[in-house]
Amino acid sequence: MKTDINSPADDDAPVSVAHANTVLSGVDDLAGITVVGMSPGRQAFRRFLEHKGAVVSAIVLFILVLFVVLSPITARYGINEQVFKISKGNNVNLSPRKVAWFGTDEVGHDLYSLIIYGVRVSLVIGTASALVSVLLGAVIGAVAGMRGGLFDDIMMRITDIFLAFPLIVSLLVMRNVLSAVSWVKPLVGPTGSIRFLVILFVIFGWMAVARLVRAQVMSLKEREFVEAARAVGATQTRIVARHIIPNSIGPLLVSLSLGVVGAIGAEATLSLFGYGPNPGSGQTSLGLLVAGARESVKGPHWWLSIFPIGVLVLLTLCISFIGDGLRDATDPKSSQGRA
């Protein structure tokens, strides 16, 4: 008798076929023959690829990052270089032209190159803040969710308190606190340095992640496969590390992308207040560029604000779309598939 091999109906639906007439000795419920299946990770990747916006954004972001990484090549001028080596007349505030694609600023630097350097700094701040926030938040959230009790209560009240204040206010206050208190200086570095800002953002960034992870932990804690691990003697650490976190990758990745967007935005906002980064040696950030161009929005030098803002928006949109795509990809639509 021929054997039919059926392909899976849906990624999550069960698949099986039986072997007519030939009964495997001693086996009642015959093992199904399955087609090469995919791990949940591959499935998620497939789903991500279906989200057009996310894919396009990922490509755009990749190109941007490439530009930034290859800045010695892609940027046309050095950090402090003037556009015209020979001071042939005025370099300042030139509109976009062949030598300076995005024009120049009031000091005569090429805006295009500046933007590349700025994106670099902003991305570093954004990614570092998001990564550390997620790591810290995941650990705190996992412990709070698993143990419950006093630790959980305290953590949740802390997050409640901080979330009650508008973020900008909190950031500004904390920034000034950090720069004023002398004994934290060795930890956080000079005010306005990248390290300083990352720490500042992490102080507020871990909370959202902690809540999220805590919620995941609490819902997954009662699932039978976790009970099964406990029945075999798994410690709580193992349960969190091997079972809960891997099943929470989706929300964590989304948090990560949101964190990057948030940090970049916060950096820009702080810059507008004049508390932006001071990355040192004349470097700049996207936020600083946007802030510095505050005046020129009304004035004749439109390029000084349009291009930085445009890139900022583009960057933010891309990362947001990627976050959307990640959320769709990892959302367990029907993980309980039944024929």
Binding site: P14, V15, D29, G37, M38, P40, F225, E227, A228, N247
Partner: protein, 335 residues
Amino acid sequence: MTEPILEVEHLVKQFTVKKSEGFRSIKRSVHAVSDVSFSITGGETLGLVGESGSGKTTVGRCVLRLLEPTAGTVRFKGTDIAKVSAKEMRGLRKQFQIVFQDPYSSLDPRMTVGASIAEPLTIQGIGGDHDKKVADLLELVGLAPDHAQRFPHEFSGGQRQRIGIARALALDPSFIVLDEPVSALDVSIQAGVVNLLADLQEQLGLSYLFIAHDLSVVRHVSDNIAVMYLGKLVEYGPAEDVYTKPAHPYTQALLSAVPEPDPAIERTRQRILLEGDVPSPINPPSGCRFRTRCPIAKEICAIDPPELKDRGQGHPVACHFPQTTMVSISDRTAV
């Protein structure tokens, strides 16, 4: 073997539930399990039946100390596991395992089935060739060894349940709690898994605590049956006795409510229809907990909780008025 492998004595489990009414928080006790005792000898199956609120699932969890018993002893091969330290417990866990009800959530979706089956070995620090052990186990439960690399979603419900059984066997336990192991499966698949469990019991000398609400399956697999109602054992005895000569009114009602796949029987038998729903274990009735729905309840039932003891039926019953005549499921002319 006549040595009991598991002896449960006066097991009690209470949960506290906080209900907030306005500004006050009221603590309520859910009396999930109230003074349950039974024993299982090696190689034997005890079927534990009951409806929702009976506490049977809680008993299953307490016996493995997946839930901490509020009181009572759980003696496994002589050692009271309710009292040992957490560290000692971890080592003891090798000897008793559990198979869960829902094949769709009892396996970690992100781990290959091979990894899920091997996990107990890793956790308990058992060395040797894990891959071989996993392959052997898969074969033992009727699956192909090369399926170890697949993920749970690639298998059907029946197959996943088999994988769960393989995982439970990984540590070579002598006792397994089966928590509704076939309830979530299609009828024609259930039979296969039930057969597998019987085969394994014979091959490996396992003892089972078979928790279920499907009375026909329980009858088929059990040597003894314990019937629970609202946290208490109401009847306990050899399977055939409990089925053919149920003495407790609840057992009788339960058995008469089970639909038999035989129109001749179904259409002619008398049924005991209970009124209302199972009361909540937060506030169980005084005296005999079944009295609010019992067709023969008398005054004494509200005052004096009946002890579980043999009152002449040949097996223990917890009722002041155990029935000698009954509506048997194969009896067409009932009392």
